[in-house]
Symmetry: C2
Subunit: 216 residues, 2 copies
């Protein structure tokens, strides 16, 4: 049951997204299934069908034992290793407005595998204030701060007009992957990955699909 | 320049997402471009190239005038009509924890085309409390409340374990489209559309792609 490197890098992004879902589900299911677990158990919990689950795992190696299913702990730690979340991943956050501070307080981002370890702002009213166990730092100190923290992941929760500038500062400070909540497309070097969350855009897509939309 | 109905319904979802981006960009660009605007202006603002912009519009009809470009107001209102955001769309929110109340305070969800008009919770400590100009209501009053509000869109910001139940209550209350922040797959009737925002999953995908991930 070795990890096949070349094979793994071809995993499509939706399979990775589902892997994250399986990992989260296993954290819950460990209580009721401390020894072994089946693909049917995963399906019941996540809504993702068992055949899809088995196919997703197959991108990453061989899992499971005939007649047994999966050893719960082993399944969870192998997925953690694949997703690179065995060790706690420190995360920086920039922009401590409503959304940024809500994320800072989100339980999974305080005690889980991803932890927001520092928060930055350019607003004098925010800098130096205590928010969720962290003291908001001046964005100007970003590179110095990350020299100690070695975070590679950052969350951007600043207004659209500031996001590009903030992204560039983060990259200079050593960040290589960005979760962007600002409603703008970031222009980044090819070795930096970004995932965008634009819920206003999601609402617009939903609105288009409303049944009484006569323009549809 | 008529809207072609059959043609429009074939627009791929990424084109709809970009339409929402163009609409948001036009709200800003109206100040500097009160009369006409070009696809190059849109490209500069959004990062989406001009040829893609023109192609996206082509799903929905004919736009633009040779030698002129686009009439700014007209372009914006036609996009609003397509996305069904000409009138204010009332939105319900369920789950007034950190994330839910951050969304309630998000400026675009207070004064834009989508407005959170009511917020619900099952937590006695929250019900009756004033949050961002709204009084948090008991989820048990959902159907009654929506009989007056006629909202078709709802946002779910409750824990994963409660989300399915909340979704079913929302559908009974007349909701037809859901923006789901709970990290779980909702099982919904085929005529109800859901868009999922799972930022923990986004972080896991980013983590997988970190350059020092030796499992990659």
């Amino acid at each position: 049951m070795s990890e096949r490197r070349g094979y793994r890098s071809k995993a499509p992004t939706p399979a990775l997204e589902r892997l994250a879902t399986y990992f989260a589900a296993l954290s819950d299911l460990k209580r009721s299934h401390p020894e072994t677990i089946s693909s049917a158990d995963i399906e019941e919990r996540t809504g993702i069908n068992a055949a899809q689950f088995r196919k997703d795992l197959s991108y990453f190696g061989e899992f499971g034992r005939p007649g047994i299913g999966y050893i719960t702990d082993e399944l969870q730690s192998r997925i953690a290793r694949i997703l690179n979340i065995e060790k706690i991943q420190p995360v920086l956050l920039v922009g401590t407005g409503n959304l940024g501070s809500a994320l800072m307080g989100y339980p999974a981002l305080r005690v889980g595998n991803f932890q927001i370890v520092a928060a930055f702002d350019n607003n004098r009213q925010k800098i130096g204030r205590r928010l969720w166990n962290l003291t908001v730092q001046d964005i100007a100190d970003l590179t110095n701060a990350n020299n100690d923290l070695h975070a590679k992941i950052a969350i951007i929760t600043v207004p659209a007009a500031s996001a590009q500038d903030v992204a560039e500062q983060l990259i200079q400070a050593g960040i290589r992957t960005i979760l962007n909540f600002a409603p703008t497309a970031l222009r980044l070097p090819p070795d930096v990955m970004v995932r965008n969350v634009d819920f206003m855009q999601e609402l617009a897509v939903l609105s288009f699909h409303l049944p009484d939309n006569e323009n549809h």
